[in-house]
Symmetry: C2
Subunit: 390 residues, 2 copies
C-alpha cells in the first residue's frame, strides 16, 4: 500500500510548500542589492511576527548555536547564571554555560514537571550576583511549558538578563517579549516557522546589548554586535544559507498574513484536541499539569514499549513521531502539532494511533479519539463563525 | 486556523514529492544524449508499468489530445465507430468522432450506469462495417467502471479496433492490455501517475498500427507514426515539456518499485473503504452497481445541495473535491482516491465529511465513517502480514 511520509515530531515540522519551492531562487549573491532587499524584508517581517521593538538578528546555525551565542555574547568567565532545568534542553543550557566557565545555579525539576516562577524569584534573591536566567519557554523533550511571563517580570526587577529558548515556544504560546522582560528570545526556522532547519534567530533587548559591552567570553562566528552592524545594511556577517533564508522569508510572509496570534491559537487548539483524544482513548498525558502546545507527550500504556508505537507509526503509516528522551525512552511518545499543521492532520494521526493501540492489544474503540478531535473542531468552527459575525 | 490545500478530485491528484522536485532538472536540451537517455528510460518504464508488449508513446497534451490522436490516426472520413457512452467522457468520444466526420453509433446508458459488454457485441453484429469501439475504462464523471475485458475479447474477434480511454482506469483496475485485445490504451500523467498534468500516453497494438497504414483523417501535431520513429531514437517529434517529463519519469520509477498491481490494489482498497464509510454514514452511492476505484460518486442527502458539501470541504478544510457533472451538479459529489493517496488521507477526508454532514443537519455519528475505514485498514494489515509471512 502507499505510505506517505509525514513529519509529526516536535521539529523539523511539515514544510510550507511555497517556502520549499522558494529555495529554487538561491542563485543570488549575498553581497548584492537583490539579497539586501530580501534580507531586510525578512528581518522586518520576523520582527513584526515576533511582536517586538527589540533588534532581531538571524544566524546560520541550529537553535543550539543561538543558545550558545546568547551565552557567549552576554557573559564573562565566572558569571553566575540560573538555569531552569526540566528536561533535555534545560540540561543543554547547563552544558553550554559550563563549557564557557560560568557559575551555574540549577533549578531542577524532574522530567514532566515545570520550574515554578517562585523558585526563580527565590534563587535570584539568594544570589544577588546573578547575571542571567536561562529557561525554555516550552521544553519539547517532555511537552512542558514554563510560565515565562511571571519569570520575566521577576527577572526584570534585577540586573540579570532573562534569556528564553523559545525554539518551540514561538508560535505555540503567547510571548509578549517587550512587556514581560524577555531580554533574549531564541527561535528556529524548523519549528512553528515551517521552513527547513538551519536558521536560528534572536530578539535582543537594550538591557542585553548593554550587558554585551562588558561581556568577555570568547566568540567569533556568533558575534551579535557585528551581526547587528551587518543587518543594518541588509547583510549577514558570513556567507549565509541563501536557499534557507528564501524559504524562511516565504514562510514569514504566510505567517504575517495568518497572524501570529492565529498561529499560536492553531497550535493550542490542536494540542487541546490531542489531549482530549488521549483522554477519550484512555491514554495518560506525561505533562498533565503544564502542557505546552508544541508537542504532546503521552505515556505508553502499561506493559507497552513506546518504541513499538513509534515504530508502528513509521512502518504502518510512514508517520514520524518521537520517542521519549533519555531515560523516558520506551515510556513515553511525543506527537508534535506546531507550525504548518491542521485539523485534518490530527484526524489522521489519531485514527492511526487508535489502530496501533488496538493492534497492540490496548482496549480502544476505533473512532473515540477521532470523535474527540472532531468535537473540538466543531466548537471552534462555531466560535470562528461567531467571531466573524461580531 | 491553518488549512492545507489537499487535492481530492479524480485528477489532478496529489503529486509524488520527488516527481515535483525533479522538475528542477529541466535545463536540458531535448536533442541531446542526456535527454535521449532519460526519455528512453521513461518509455521503457512506462511500458513495463502498463504491462504490455505493444508500443507505448508519449504526447505533450492532456488526455483529450491522446483521445483525438487515437481517432485521427486510426480512421478515415465516414468510418463507423461505436461509442460506449455513460457520462461526460463518453460524450467526448462522440464529439471527437463527429468533429472528424465519423459515423457514430452510440450505445448510451444514463449517468451512473455502465454499458454492458453484450450491448457492444450486439452492436458489432448489427454493424459489421465498424472500424472502432471507443470506451472509458472508468467514467470518472460518474464513478462507473466498464468491463473492458469482456468488451475487448468481443471486439478482438472483429476487424474493429478497441480504443480505451484509461486515463483514470490505469492504476485503479487491472488492465491486461495484450490479452484482452485493448488496441489503444490512453493514460495521463495527472491521474494514478502522480505527476502534474500535461503528459498523455498511449499503448498501440499491431492491429492499430496496421489500421494506420490506410487511415486518412487529417492530423499533424498528433502523428503517431512519426512519434514512433522519433521515440526509437529517444526523442519526441516536437519540443517536449521537459520539466513534466522529468516529473513523470521520477513518478514512474516509484510506481515500478511499488508495482502496478499494488498501485491498483491500493486504489481499490481505498475505494472499498470509502464505500464502507458511506454505508456507515448512511450515504447512498451514485454508481452502486459498477463502481470504479478512481473516484467515488456519492449522492447528496435529500434536500442538501452537493455544491454546499464541495464548498464546505474547501472553506473548512482546504480540501478540493468535485461536484457532479452537468445535470448532476448539486446532486452528487465525487471524492478521488487514485494515485498517490493513502489510508491516513482517507481517515482525514471521512472525518471532514462527517463534520460537514453534521453541520448541515444530516444525522451522522462522528466517528462512524472513520471507523469503517479503520476496520478495512485493519483487515488489510492482517492480510498483508499473512502475505509477507507466506
Amino acid at each position: 500500500m502507499i505510505r506517505k511520509q509525514r513529519l509529526l515530531t516536535p521539529g523539523p515540522t511539515p514544510l510550507y510548500p511555497k517556502a520549499l519551492y522558494a529555495m529554487l531562487g538561491a542563485e543570488i549573491h549575498h553581497r548584492t542589492e537583490d539579497f539586501r532587499q530580501i534580507y531586510k524584508t525578512l528581518l522586518s517581517d520576523l520582527k513584526e511576527v515576533m511582536g517586538t521593538r527589540h533588534d532581531v538578528l538571524v544566524l546560520v546555525c541550529s537553535g543550539t548555536g543561538a543558545m550558545e551565542a546568547s551565552v557567549t555574547n552576554c557573559f564573562s568567565p565566572g558569571d553566575r547564571v540560573i538555569v531552569c532545568s526540566a528536561g533535555r534542553f534545560g540540561e543543554r543550557w547547563t552544558e553550554i554555560a559550563r563549557a564557557y566557565g560560568l557559575n551555574v545555579t540549577i533549578l531542577e525539576e524532574p522530567y514532566g514537571k515545570a520550574v515554578a516562577p517562585e523558585a526563580v524569584e527565590k534563587a535570584l534573591a539568594a544570589n544577588p550576583d546573578t547575571k542571567g536566567v536561562l529557561v525554555q519557554a516550552t521544553e519539547s523533550s517532555t511537552g512542558v511549558a514554563h510560565d515565562v511571563r511571571s519569570m520575566g517580570l521577576a527577572v526584570k526587577e534585577t540586573g540579570a538578563l532573562f534569556i528564553v529558548d523559545a525554539i518551540t515556544g514561538l508560535g505555540t504560546m503567547p510571548l509578549s517579549i517587550d512587556d514581560w522582560g524577555l531580554d533574549i528570545v531564541i527561535g528556529g526556522s524548523q519549528k512553528s516557522f515551517m521552513a527547513p532547519p538551519g536558521i536560528a534567530f534572536l530578539s535582543i533587548s537594550e538591557k542585553a546589548w548593554a550587558a554585551m559591552e562588558t561581556a568577555a567570553l570568547p566568540r567569533y562566528y556568533f558575534n551579535l554586535k557585528r551581526e547587528r552592524k551587518m543587518a543594518a545594511i541588509g547583510e549577514s556577517s558570513w556567507t549565509p544559507a541563501i536557499a534557507l533564508l528564501l524559504a524562511f522569508a516565504e514562510a514569514l510572509k504566510y505567517i504575517k498574513t495568518l497572524g501570529m496570534a492565529r498561529l499560536v491559537d492553531n497550535a493550542q487548539q490542536l494540542a487541546r484536541a490531542m489531549r482530549a483524544a488521549c483522554a477519550a482513548m484512555g491514554l495518560e498525558l506525561f505533562a498533565a499539569e503544564n502542557p505546552g502546545a508544541a508537542v504532546t507527550a503521552i505515556k505508553a500504556p502499561d506493559g507497552m514499549d513506546s518504541g513499538v508505537i513509534v515504530k508502528e507509526f513509521r512502518n504502518r503509516f510512514g508517520s514520524v513521531i518521537a520517542n521519549g528522551p533519555g531515560a523516558l525512552k520506551g515510556r513515553i511518545f511525543r506527537i508534535g502539532h506546531l507550525g504548518y499543521f491542521d485539523f485534518p492532520d490530527l484526524f489522521a494521526i489519531v485514527a492511526e494511533l487508535e489502530l496501533i493501540l488496538q493492534a497492540q492489544g490496548f482496549p480502544v474503540n476505533l473512532g473515540d479519539g477521532v470523535n474527540a478531535v472532531q468535537q473540538i473542531y466543531s466548537e471552534l468552527a462555531i466560535r470562528n463563525k461567531e467571531t466573524a459575525r461580531a
